[in-house]
Amino acid sequence: MSNIIIEIKSLRKDYHVGEVTVHALRGVDMKIHEGEFVAIMGASGSGKSTMLNILGCLDKPSSGDYLLDGINVNTMNRDALAKLRNQKLGFVFQSYNLLARTTALENVELPLFYNSKIRSKERREAAINALEAVGLSDRMHHMPNQLSGGQQQRVAIARSLVNNPVLILADEPTGNLDTRTSIEIMDLFQDLNEKGRTIVYVTHEPDIARFATRNVMFRDGKIQRENYVTDRLNAKEILNTMPVEAIEEFDQ
C-alpha cells in the first residue's frame, strides 16, 4: 500500500456554547493513503465539516492525534500551522472564496505570496500551469465576476493546486453549482486524482459521493460506515451522455 497521508487516532472535538458542551466528534479513527479520493458524507451536524476543518489544520481537536504526512499537527503553533496549510494543503470552498476585483491569475498566485522562498517568476509560472490544468488558460485575466460559478470553482481548484499540496480538501465543492457543472467539477477532480492527487471532499449528496473511490459516512460525531465505492461513477461518461442542448445552454 502507498504512503499514509492522514492518520487520525481517537479524535474528539468539543465545542462549548455557553454552558452547553457540544460533542462534534466523539472518537474518530481514520487513515487516508496517498492517491485516495475520499468523500466524507453525513447529515448536517454529523461532524463532517468539523472533521474537514481539523484535517485542514484550520481547527484543533480537543483530544486525539492527527498525523499529516507523518507530522503530528496537535503540537504545532499558529504560525507553524499556517506554514503547513501553505505548503502541504489545498482548499476548495463551497462559495469559492475568490478575492473580488482580482484576476483569476492573481487569485491562483495568492498562496505562493505567503511563501517567501518562491520568486515572482516561479509564482507566475506555477499559477499559469495550475490554470491550464483546470482548463482556464483563456480566462486568466478575468475577474471573478466575469466568470460563471463553475469557472470560479475551477479557479479555486487551481488555487488549491498551485502549491503542489499533498492533499486537497474540498468543502461541499459542488454545493452552489447546477448538476452539469457539479459533474464537470467532479470530472476535474477525477482527472487530478488519476494524476496522483489525494483529494478529500465533503458532500451530503450521495450521487456526488459516488465519484470518489471511498466513502466515509459520519453520524453523530462518529464514523458510521466506511466503504470503497463499488459502483463508481465516471464523470466523463456522464457528461458525454448528457444532452447537447444543456451544454449550449450552460455556455451562454
Binding site: 476543518n53 506554514k83 496549510r85 505567503y114
Partner: protein, 406 residues
Amino acid sequence: MNLKNLFRIAVRALVRNKLRAFLTMLGIIIGVASVIAMLAIGEGSKQNIRKEMSGMGTNMVMVMPNMQRRGGVSLGASSSMVLKYSDVLALRNEAASVSAVSPEVRASGQVIYTNQNTLTTIYGVSEEYLMIKKLEVGSGRIFNVNEVRSMSKVCLLGQTVVENLFGTGADPVGITIRIKNLPFLIIGVLKDKGESGMGQDQDDLILAPYTTVQRRLAAIDYINGIYASAVSEEKSAVAIAEVEEILRRTHKLKESAENDFRVMSQSELIETVSSITDMLTILLGAIAGISLLVGGIGIMNIMFVSVTERTREIGLRMSIGGRGSDILKQFLVESILLSILGGLLGIVFGYLIARGAGSLMSIVPIIKVQTVVLAFSVCFAIGVFFGWYPARKAANLNPIDALRYE
C-alpha cells in the same frame, strides 16, 4: 509576503473605496495642513519681525526714565525728568562698550507748509542718532555740530511728512516750513524705512538738533531718552551693565535705591517678541495637533470597519497559509498608507493655505524641512498607532471563524 505586495494590496483596498478613504484621510489632511500653515506663518512672521527689528539696529541700547514711586506715591511726570544731557556726555566719555550716544527730546506739534499741514513728532537728537537708529539721509544732509550748538532751526523730514506736506516723491530740501509756528529750514530728507515690526510708521517724523527741540519747541531742560550703540550685538549686555553703572553714579543713587531709569537693548526686545511668537506658534500647533489626534481616531474607526468587512478574506488568506503577522502587516500597511497619504495632501494644502494667508498678511511663510519631516513622521506614527489595534484584531482571528463570518 513582501512589502511590495503588501503595498499593492493596500493600494487596491483604498482604491476600492476612494471616497471613504478620502473622508478618512480628511481628519489627517486638516490636521497636517493646519500644523504646516500655522508653523509656516508663525515662522514667517517671526523672521519678518526679526528682520524689521534688526533694521532698527540690533546693537541699539535705549535708556528711558523709570516711573518712580516713593512710599507708594507715584511721582508722575516729575520722575520723567531724570535724564539730562550730562548723562549723555558721561556715557560718551566713560562707556567703553558704547560707540555712539544721542539724546532724544520729543515734541509733537503741527507742521505747516503753505496750505498743507500735518501733526507729527519732532525728535531732537544729535547727529549720531542716524547711525544708531540705522536711518539714512536720502537727499540733503544731517545737521552739524555748529547747528546743534547754536540751536539752529533746521530739520530733516521723514518720507510720510514729505508726502503729507509736499506730495509723493517731492524733494523739499531748502524749503522753509513752520513747526509750532517757528520757521525751520529743511536741510535733508530721510530714506523710506517702512513700518516697524509692531506696525508703526517709522517715516512719520522730523529730526532736528536736540538743543533746538529742547529749548525752542518743548521748553524743557531734561531729555526724554538716550539712544546708544553697543560696539557689537554680542556686547549689548555688557553695554547695558556699563550704562546702568555710569547712570547710577551720575544720578547719585544710593546702594539700596532703585534705578530711576530703564536700560533696554534691541536684541532683548527681539528675544521677547520672538518668544511671544514662539509661544503663539506652539499654542496654535498644539490645537492643530488635536485635530491630528481626531484624524487618527477616524483612521482607527475605518480600519475596524475594513477588518470587519474583509473578515472572510482574512479567513481565506489564513487558510491558504497567511500567518497572523502577514495579516497584521497587511492592515498596518493600509492604515499607514492612509495616514501618510493624508499627510502628503495635508502638506500640500497647508502650503497653499500658508501662501494664501501669508499674502493677505504680507508675510512670506517659511516651511522648514523639519516641519515637513515632523508632519510626515507624526503621520507614520498615527498610522502605526491607530492601525495597530484593528490590525491586531484581524491577525488574532481564528481562521475557521473568519471563513464562516457572514
